[in-house]
Symmetry: C2
Subunit: 204 residues, 2 copies
DNA sequence: TTGCTATTTGAACAAATGTTCAGTTAGTTT
DNA sequence: AAACTAACTGAACATTTGTTCAAATAGCAA
């Protein structure tokens, strides 16, 4: 019935976002209640409505922030992009794996909870996902036009590469047998093979 | 309060499974109620408990049946497996894409609803998923041992290939620009490049 | 026709849900 | 010290949830 000692709105907002992200990733949006999230934050459910108009907006803002962070981080990363398409592809692959392994919960939600978004919210997130996918597609098309790649199909190659790269988050463990650097190397190796397919044919 | 005219338990059971599969895939297990499933079946919620002990078991049985169908179908498909590892890999890739595109809802649930399974149910499904993944890993290892593949990493190659193949279900449309056959060819091409990566290096 | 079985209805039950808000206390400003 | 604002509590609200089960009807066998 009272304000808690030491309460700080900014701090609570951050704790709320982190708690909601973790619980949505672990159990799923619809399976987690506002009361559960509140308990994790250390407040009552009613207090959450000081920080979010409703549960749907809470989910949307987590996903939207994740996509914005991803696109912004790539913009910074690619500011000094090399000219060589293979080097740019390498830059993208390393970036994708590194960024995603640092935000496994956010990535998980961004891919798993699309169905729980309202139509309008879905459209916003979908547009940003397509924007990110087009980044890779552009790299692939440039490389193909420059004769550096021999793609099986431009669009499907970008779908396939994104799928395999994002798939890393489904099995990666911090204490696993492979470091992030090693995983980057191995996935780079596989992606090179995938985009250089034509050379593989002539080599056999 | 009465039995419906023309009611047939076997038929209702099949309709229930199909309706639950479609609704779980479209909205998610936790977001769909037994009343919604019942409405889709054309009965009241109480009637569902003649066919399933509870909601969790309904989900589990859908996922379990899907995995059983997948493993059984592969067993039939690979009964006359060619000896050449590349041909066997091709067989697997075609099979995976074809099977998954014929059961998009089932596939979706099998991958998306793991979190909603109880511990015991999860263990059962997880074991079958690993069994399927090992099928591909065995093909890759045999090909590598025979000198036909030059893998970047045996285990990660199988993870990456499964991820990209399964990812097809996230964008495929029946009326899209590509036929299932064409998709198979393109993904085969990409998978070949991925497993022949070493040859690509020496070719450059 | 009678008796039995199968299949369903419809309401009940206990519990949980998202959201609201008057009231209370902590922190800040005057 | 007083006044104001911020941050929370706790209960209420309407609704929904999974599940149960007595009763009713349809289908089938004798």
């Amino acid at each position: 019935m009272a304000r808690k000692s030491g309460s700080d709105g900014k701090k609570t907002a951050q704790v709320l976002r982190a708690a909601a992200t973790r619980l949505f990733a672990q159990y799923g949006y619809a399976a987690v209640s506002m009361r559960q999230i509140a308990a994790e934050v250390g407040v009552q459910a009613g207090a959450l409505y000081l920080y979010t108009p409703d549960k749907q907006t809470l989910l949307f803002q987590i996903m939207d922030r994740h996509m914005d962070d991803l696109l912004t981080a790539w913009q910074g990363e690619s500011a000094d992009s090399p000219a060589d398409p293979m080097a740019r592809l390498e830059q993208f692959v390393r970036f994708h794996i590194r960024f995603h392994l640092q935000r496994v919960d956010g990535v998980f939600i961004a891919y798993m909870e699309l169905r729980n978004l309202s139509k309008e919210n879905f459209a916003v997130i979908e547009a940003k996902r397509r924007q990110y996918e087009r980044l890779l597609e552009a790299i692939l098309q440039d490389g193909s036009a420059a004769g550096r790649f021999e793609l099986c199909d431009s669009k499907l190659s970008s779908y396939a590469i994104i799928a395999m790269l994002t798939g890393v988050t489904t099995w990666y463990r911090d204490d696993g047998r492979l470091s992030v650097e090693k995983i980057e190397e191995i996935y780079l190796c596989m992606v090179r093979g995938l985009v250089m397919q034509g050379s593989a044919k002539t080599g056999s």
